[in-house]
């Protein structure tokens, strides 16, 4: 529980005083009330979906559900692999050509 609170604090900031956390559960009709004193935040889930939260309560609710302020960008890993391998192969050919020239 403490770890969870720390996590929420890291993402959403310190819990404002006099705020009571309502029991939201899985209520689909629950409406979060905007808090003008809260700076809106963008939160992202693992698939890169984003949501803007406008209150500390809303933010804490999403963080509990696994959302974070860090966008887990879909890195084009397959392109990196192509780049790394091309470099290795190029290095091989250059060194091979140098070897051949040196031996001649």
């Amino acid at each position: 529980m403490e770890n969870n609170s720390n996590e929420i604090e890291k993402q959403c900031g310190v819990q404002p005083a006099n705020i009571e956390i309502p029991d939201i559960g899985n209520d689909p009709n629950f409406v979060f009330v905007n808090d003008p004193s809260f700076t809106s935040l963008n939160l992202y889930d693992i698939d890169g979906n984003s949501v803007i939260v406008n209150s500390w309560i809303e933010c804490s609710h999403y963080v509990k559900g696994g959302w974070t302020t860090i966008l887990n960008q879909n890195i084009p890993g397959d392109k990196y692999i192509v780049f790394i391998c091309s470099s290795l192969i190029l290095f091989y050919y250059i060194s091979k050509i140098f070897k051949i020239k040196a031996s001649q």
């Binding site: 529980m1 403490e2 770890n3 969870n4 996590e7 890291k10 693992i46 963080v63 509990k64 559900g65 696994g66 959302w67 974070t68 860090i70 887990n72 960008q73 879909n74 890195i75 084009p76 890993g77 397959d78 392109k79 990196y80 692999i81 192509v82 790394i84 391998c85 091309s86 290795l88 192969i89 091989y92 050919y93 091979k96 050509i97 070897k99 051949i100 040196a102 031996s103």
Partner: protein
Amino acid sequence: MKQRNKNLVLIVLIASVLILPFSVSDKDDYREPKFVQDSSIGYYQSTTCGISFAEVLSKNINNTNNLYFNNNAYPGTECFGKVTGLDKVNNVLIVSIGTNPSINLLLQSVLYILIILLIKPRQRVSPLGESLFIITFRSGLLSLLFTFQHLSEARFYERTNKYFLTTSSFNNYYLIGIFLIYFFIFLALTELSNSRESVLLNYSPYAFLFVGTFVGTNINFYILILCFFGLKGLLMKKYNSYINMIYGFFSVIWITFNYSSDNFFDADKLRGFINSANNDASLYFWIVTFYLLMNGFYYLYTICDIDLEKIKQSLIFSGTGVVIFGLLGAAYPPLNFINFFLFGQNKRGMRELTSIAGNTWRGFSASAETIGEFFAFIILFYVIFYLNKNITLTKADYFMLPIVGYGLFRSNNFAAVSALVIFTIIFVFNTKINNPKYRKLLFRSMIFSSATLAIFYVMSFNYEFLSTGLLFEISLHSNFFTNSDNYINFLNIEKYFNEKDLGTLLFLEDNFSKASSSYLFLVNLFTTEINIPLIPNVVAVISMISIFINRTEMWGIFFAKYSPTIGESLFGSGPLQMSDYLYRHPVRLDVPSEKLQSLFLPHSSIFDILIFYGLIGLVILSFFTFRIFYKSEYIGNDAKYLLGFLIINIFKSDSLLYISSIILFFLIISIITKKKKEYV
């Protein structure tokens, strides 16, 4: 640079390739590792791909919770070596670590290439070596072949790699990346093989320690090496025309009569050396791959310098390594994960040391039989070549041999132990007793006592049970009498067996059409009217053997499933093509419900050969094997005991389904058939 210093540099490089990818993470983000426990599940589930494996370990050195580090192949490269989730299942906290297959292919190859570089070069190679054109042509061709596997076995790869894409375009970075990785591997193999290829075979027993299967793929490093040498041999015209012609003939038949289907085999413990699909493209891939693999063996055979001391070292280090790393992996979950990656295991290593989980050295070997055979083989190798003064015993050997003995003990392989004892006795009688009179007497008394024991054993059962045990077992696993209660089916089948009325059994409830073709063939053989006095029926003999060696159930399942056409029974389904055998013929296994989804392999390499190469293939392979035994010009006679030992064992194990066992076979054949002057 001196070899010693070179090795030091290589070891540092190997450690770096192993450690760095699992340690890299953004240290500036606020995502810190936490102690793995129930309360941190939410944290790790929401903080994915940010905390490295090494970071988690640093926070959990003293963690006494039941941890398991799972390899999660599907996530992308950004998650490689990092935590992709934490779950709790049955009181086990499962930490998933990202292991993208494309990166695995590259990293594991680099690791194995660096390890091969530890082998001292033997030949002096001209700096010019082969022409760049030849190197490029060979590497390109092989890379195309292995990239093609990703298309032919698409169902396997789409499950394991996030980037998987089959479109034919220059934007398909997945396929281009795979091609380039293979291209780099073959270029590297070219460089290191030139100066080491003649001694590689002496190190081949390491295939039991470094299993070589790439995580998340259905390919094995040894296949790449052997195909590389295969193509090299073909281009240099070092091949055996007879073998290639026979194989070509078989290939035409496999391709012509192939029945494509949607059957998919997830490869399970055979991953890396099995056809996961059953389509034309996958058949072409494995036909060509196996062709190159055979030629690779042949090429290595023609150039190898056999060194028994080096082989001894490789055997003992490999055997000891399997035991020690197996135990360490069972005791320490992080090492279990590292073992899987470093050694390229087909399946994760054993997680506990209880008699069931701990007896198979699972991971290093997919089956208890295979690893038991290997441990026993090492001991027999020592016995034979030490007694004949071909090898010496060092202090390290005295230390490591008991470890291998412990491995054999824990593998629970009674057959391997028995075969070890029998072959040791035969060897000692044959070579150490010079008086032929005494030798004959000892052999006769041995045969007499064995025969007496066998007769007493047979007498303890009734002949009825022994001769029909296998057919009864096949009937139980066939789809007969489809009552929902297996016990009622059992009683029905038992009734007709007691009445010796197999005809009615097959006639009722359409059982005839539900029976496999191999079952019907066995029933025909068993009920034939031709009866030669004193010669037992062949089905009865197979049945007796299956009961003696405790294979009735497994062979029963095999014959219940094995339903080939006439063509398949003669020529097989093609190399490593098993999905038809596994899924084509419907059966109803009479096994506990929790085992219904298990993989039931034939449990005899003879049956494996039947599935792949048919009866004619089996006869041809047997002919070549017996030729090795009986051709007098061969000098490595002592190694024939080892070959005999392996052959006896494969009757009751699936060892030939594993590349490491095939390599061991090939090594022994090379030792036997190489002329003495070719020994180092």
